[in-house]
Amino acid sequence: MNERLKLRPAANESGIEIQPSYGPQDVERTGGFGFIGEAGAYPFVRGIHPLMYRHRPYTMRQYTGFGNAADTNRRFKYLIANGQTGLNVAFDLPTQCGLDSDDPLAHGEVGRVGMAIDTLRDFEIAFEGIDLDAITVSLTVNGAAPQLIAMYLAMAEKRGYDVAKLRGTAQNDILKEFIGRGTWIYPVEPSVKLVGDTIEYCARHAPKYSPVSVCGYHIRESGANPVQEMAYAFCIAKAYADEAIRRGLDIDEFAGRLSFNFNVFGNIFEQVCKFRAARGLWAKIVKERYGATKPESGWLRMIAGGGGGGLTFEQPEVNIVRGAYYALIAALGGAQTMALCCFDEAYTIPTEYAQRISLRTMQLLIEEMGLADTVDPLGGSWYVETLTNQMRSKMEDAMAEVDSQGGIVKLVAEGAIQAGVSAQAYRMQRAIESGEFRKVGVNCYRNEQAEELDVQMHPYDEADAKRQVARLAEVRTEREGPRVAAALASVRVSAESGSNVMPAIVEAVKAYATVGEITQLLAAVYGRYREPVRF
């Protein structure tokens, strides 16, 4: 063996040793071919649909939003005109944290990292002229998800769509916000209760709508390895399923509308096997633990993409190439939806130019590279099947460890998961700085000249924030005061009584109650989260 091969890491990030070559005996040794099956049939390792992209290519859904609703509406239309097939909405931090744009805590942050939403009026503007049957919309919101789901449904209903048939997704995975991303509002237990409220409400009133997208993505970004990414996400998904079942819902009434959001950076084979392994594991959990009888209840429907944690500040143009491999991973992994972080994201909100490159990257795989032609093209490789078996068994071990320590809700509330992933993030950063973990352009093949000049910065316009505050003031004046007051009083009553708050929130947003007004009422009942800082 030559020196270069000897130097390669002998294990992947999940701690699985990688052999120089694989044969059928390796598959047999790790559990055999028995769990693979056919695409579209339990346990769905090869894909949740029999024809996969032949029937319908993955949805392309770049994460987009900035300034106010009108600015974002223009970018949405630009992306749709360029062939994007779904929307993935970025909200600014005040919106995500349940604050109105005129709140003192929102100072300097309105419209900065996403679109500002205060009332239903903003949703009406944001989606003006967009066909909500043709383009499905994913709302990236968690702490303030009850209000924003309510606004989306109310906006669609107002435009004449039948909410009972409306498709779409909300991220609404609050447990991962406590691990990474950080847009929590209320303490852990009432936060989980609110997720239960949205699942229950949607199962009964908007059964085609996906009220939760469980995210391994941000846990991985925070320092988890690929096995932990899936294991923690599934523990979280189980916590929500348990909550829904406590309400009296049957697993088959809601499990088919749970969706997932996973990351793609890292070793190509480890990532693809992660998705194959996870599909089989989730189907098994839903069938064996919950007794689901509908096959689609066990489908791991997912958006796979992003990859921000793998992109680099150094030599940003090389991120275009990384993005192409990440898209390949998502396609080989059988993702239903794809989104890519743009090459300039370590610097700025992506420009139209950068967004278009990401979109073209995803389109290339379908149009030129043959990725939509056949299902699970890596299936049957001795390496891939061995690694899929090994990844699944590691995920099961990691889930069992969480359960043996009291379950994910307890570990998150104590800060234990956070401490674990942050310790790993530190070790990884040290390994990158020492050169032990190779990053091209960072610890090898560096260019030492200034690189930032190559990136065009997205301008932040203070005037947009002022316009947003002005619009909010206008809505507060124009809305029917007594109707708002009565609707907000109902929100408070339902929160205090412990019943499902969603029906009252839907009525309140229809009366143009603000995100912040509803948050304050809920926080008065539930309290606010206090972060357990543990190292």
């Binding site: 931090l93 005040p94 995500q96 944290c97 604050l99 805590l105 929102a106 100072h107 300097g108 942050e109 900065r112 990292v113 916000e177 990474g180 991303r181 950080g182 847009t183 970004e221 925070s222 320092g223 680099t312 500040f313 150094e314 370590a346 610097y347 700025t348 942050s422 310790a423 993030a425 530190y426 950063q429 040290r430 700085e433 960072v442 930032e452 910065m457 932040y460 206090r530 972060e531 357990p532 800082v533 543990r534 190292f535």
Partner: protein, 148 residues
């Protein structure tokens, strides 16, 4: 009432010969930004280097950062900002730190800090500016070299 921020810990502790207390750093997450991976990684690096670190947790207002820094008698005030609101935040923080008598302490900031903002951040009193891609050892060395 217990303070609403985390007490973390420190490395090996004071050098018994020099009899100096370890450098005390308040690592704060300003504003609504929820990206704390970087702040926690830097906090660990400073602890490993023997410093005492107080990590505030997320969502700190300028007033809270100034109060914690004052209460803890910090030698270093370190902010980590990934979501773009660093300039308006620091404009509010500067007079508060000065008012608390912390004008002579070392103020540093790291995160997603576009080059075009570096001059403004220096004007606002931040002597150490560590944009994305900075190395942990460089941060540690800078702090050690610049604490009076």
């Amino acid at each position: 009432m217990t303070p609403n921020y985390g007490i973390t810990g420190s490395g090996p502790g004071p050098d018994p010969i020099a009899m100096k207390r370890p450098i005390k750093v308040v690592v704060a997450k300003p504003g609504l930004d929820g990206h704390d991976q970087g702040a926690k990684v830097v906090a660990r690096a400073l602890m490993d280097a023997g410093m005492e670190v107080i990590y505030t947790g997320l969502r700190q207002t300028p007033e809270q950062v100034a109060r914690i820094a004052e209460d803890e008698d910090a030698d270093v005030i370190a902010l980590s900002s990934m979501a773009g609101s660093h300039v308006p935040f620091c404009e509010k923080l500067k007079p508060l730190l000065e008012g608390a008598g912390l004008g002579d302490k070392l103020w540093v900031i790291g995160g997603n800090l576009p080059k075009q903002d570096h001059t403004r951040l220096r004007e606002l009193g931040f002597r150490g500016i560590f944009p994305s891609s900075s190395r942990l050892d460089d941060i540690v060395q800078f702090v050690k070299a610049n604490v009076a």
